[in-house]
Amino acid sequence: MAISVDVRNLSKNYGEVEALKDLTFSVSKGELFGFIGPDGAGKTTLFRILTTLLLADSGTASVEDLDVVKAYKQIRRIIGYMPGRFSLYQDLSVEENLRFFATIFGTTIEENYDLVKEIYSQIEPFKTRKAGKLSGGMKQKLALSCALIHKPVVLFLDEPTTGVDAVSRQEFWEMLQRLKSQGITIIVSTPYMDEATLCDRVALIQNGRIMQISRPAEVVSTFPLGLFSVSSADVYRLLHDLQKLPKEHSVFAFGQVVHLSYREDELTRDDVIDFLKEKGHEEVTVEEIKPNIEDCFMELMQKE
């Protein structure tokens, strides 16, 4: 499959801090590629290098066979970029913002209306409202419309769903799927693990390093350990006590339950139940579960 974005041995430092360490990956044309990682993992730095806004210290990167350093002018014509922070003109109306971004890319709203129709039609009733007065979900739809209005070949979305309600998040991902079906390459970053399953491939990124790149299903299927979901009447003490289990394992809180990963040859369900009863826990339940992306991520982080 043809390559859209190609990155080789990319590194970037901010003084002493290593933001990106020797990154290598490539994204195929028409792929929906996700970067999953916590704040400060280096996602924004990577996006800025790919959108020609920052220079890397070493390594190369290209977008649609154009070098991000030498051919930055050409790249800026063909990409759509939605920065992590809401960056539209708050004192301009919805329509004025969209019109402005259409104009600076040398096009008009009318010309590419089909492309943004599905998204823009949702905020069109408010088109005379100032962008600063929109709700979080509407701001994000406007920002996406502005990034799309010039029919980009590659779309970079830096944490587009941060600070957006659950319903809007879901709608947003449905829109991305539709854009993908139109052949646009989409590179998206998010701190939300559950969104990873919606990508074609995900890269787990932590401390400026890519820990794993694979399809979401693969990430889960390659999880090397067993996993219990444990709950009891006193969740706080539960987490505390489980850490004292004598066998090799790791635990982390997952909402109202605790996920406990373990080596299948070392620990059994009964061991855990007995151990907790001994510690005086009540209403103990221990269930064998399938790992999700977040479990895998936690496990990878432990290894680091």
Binding site: L53, Y72, Y81, T103
Partner: protein, 367 residues
């Protein structure tokens, strides 16, 4: 619509949306001009005086009459004893007390000299000085007319104040005010509007678009050329209509020089915004580093020639000084380009220097 004009339209929208700033921008010239024209003035009119006349004869009455009818002084009260003098100063707005000695006319005729004491309120030294000078002048004048034939030799200075016959302060303030306001609007507003994009993160989007840096900078500057130009015209018109400040030279030349100075200030504003990342810093630099020198080191309020040498050198690297010289020359003296080509060339030089430096410093990337 092409890219550049799309950008300019957006800039105008920003400006018109922020109507408070707009109001200040256009209200400021009027308010400042009226403030400077009426309030900040060292002309003397109707200063209150008190007279302690111990003779009350024909001569002192005539002198008193001359003094009070001069227009500079207004007789507030007559005093009767020395002890009342200090009280009069303390109590009221008396700026000057004139004391005639007793038997004034007789002494003048017999001894050929008589004494007048002028007591000024030197808590405001400039005014006291001017008042004493005016009063002395009136006394001398009286003496000359009285003894027209008796004194054999006389030197009669006839002063004529060229270009500003009535020594109106506002003639000086209009050019200075123009320099100040144009500097403020051009440099301050552009530097703020560019750094604002950086702060809000929209610069990131502009940079990641096909807009060229030159288009961004010129597009930012463009609306302010208009605003500043309109302001310059308002000041010239107001000065002319309200205060009678003339435009004796060519209006075209005057507008051209204004345009040149505006360009200079705008490129300076762009330079400031290239070097800073926050609106606050841009504002501080524009206000402190530009406004104060424009007011203090340009000949606006204090004459450059009276400054210590070091400050004079400083004045010479400040563009406003040249602009004020040019404007005074055109408006008051009616000079043509022939007399001010040197200053004009210096302003052109400043403009090119700032533009070149800005282009060099403009970042095509975020860092």
């Amino acid at each position: 619509m092409n890219r550049f004009w799309g950008f300019v339209v957006k800039e105008f929208l920003h400006i018109f949306r922020d109507y408070r700033t707009l109001l200040i921008l256009f209200g400021m010239p009027a308010v400042q001009l009226i403030l400077f024209g009426y309030v900040v003035t060292n002309e003397i009119k109707d200063a209150r005086i008190a007279i302690l006349d111990q003779s009350k004869d024909e001569t002192t009455r005539k002198i008193t009459e001359k003094i009070t009818s001069s227009g500079y002084f207004r007789l507030d009260r007559n005093l009767h004893t020395y002890s009342e003098i200090e009280e009069a100063f303390k109590e009221g707005d008396i700026k000057l007390v004139i004391v005639f000695e007793s038997n004034f006319t007789r002494k003048l005729e017999r001894e050929r000299q008589a004494h007048v004491q002028l007591i000024g309120d030197a808590s405001d030294p400039n005014t006291a000085n001017i008042l004493v000078n005016y009063a002395t002048g009136i006394l001398n004048n009286y003496l000359r007319t009285r003894n027209a034939e008796a004194i054999p030799l006389q030197i009669l200075p006839e002063t004529r104040m060229m270009y500003n016959k009535e020594l109106k302060g506002v003639f000086m303030f209009v050019p200075g005010l123009m320099a100040m306001l144009l500097m403020l609007i051009s440099a301050l507003m552009t530097s703020i509007s560019i750094t604002k994009e950086k702060e809000l993160g929209t610069m990131e989007l502009l940079l990641a678009s096909p807009l060229r840096p030159m288009q961004i900078v010129v597009g930012k500057v463009f609306p302010y050329v208009f605003l500043a130009f309109i302001n310059a015209c308002i000041i010239i018109l107001l000065g002319n209509i309200v205060f009678g400040v003339p435009v004796r030279g060519s209006v075209t030349l005057l507008l051209f020089e204004n345009f040149l100075f505006i360009s200079m200030a705008l490129s300076l504003g762009v330079l400031i915004s290239c070097l800073t990342n926050s609106q606050q810093l841009a504002m501080m630099i524009s206000l402190v580093a530009l406004m104060l020198p424009t007011i203090l080191l340009s000949g606006f309020i204090f004459p450059v020639e009276n400054m210590p040498k070091v400050l004079q050198w400083l004045c010479h690297i400040m563009p406003p000084m040249y602009f004020i010289t040019i404007i005074k020359s055109i408006m008051l003296k009616g000079n043509g380009l022939f007399y001010i080509w040197k200053e004009t060339l210096i302003l052109v030089g400043f403009t090119l220097f700032f533009i070149l430096l800005s282009v060099k410093k403009f970042k095509i990337r975020l860092a």
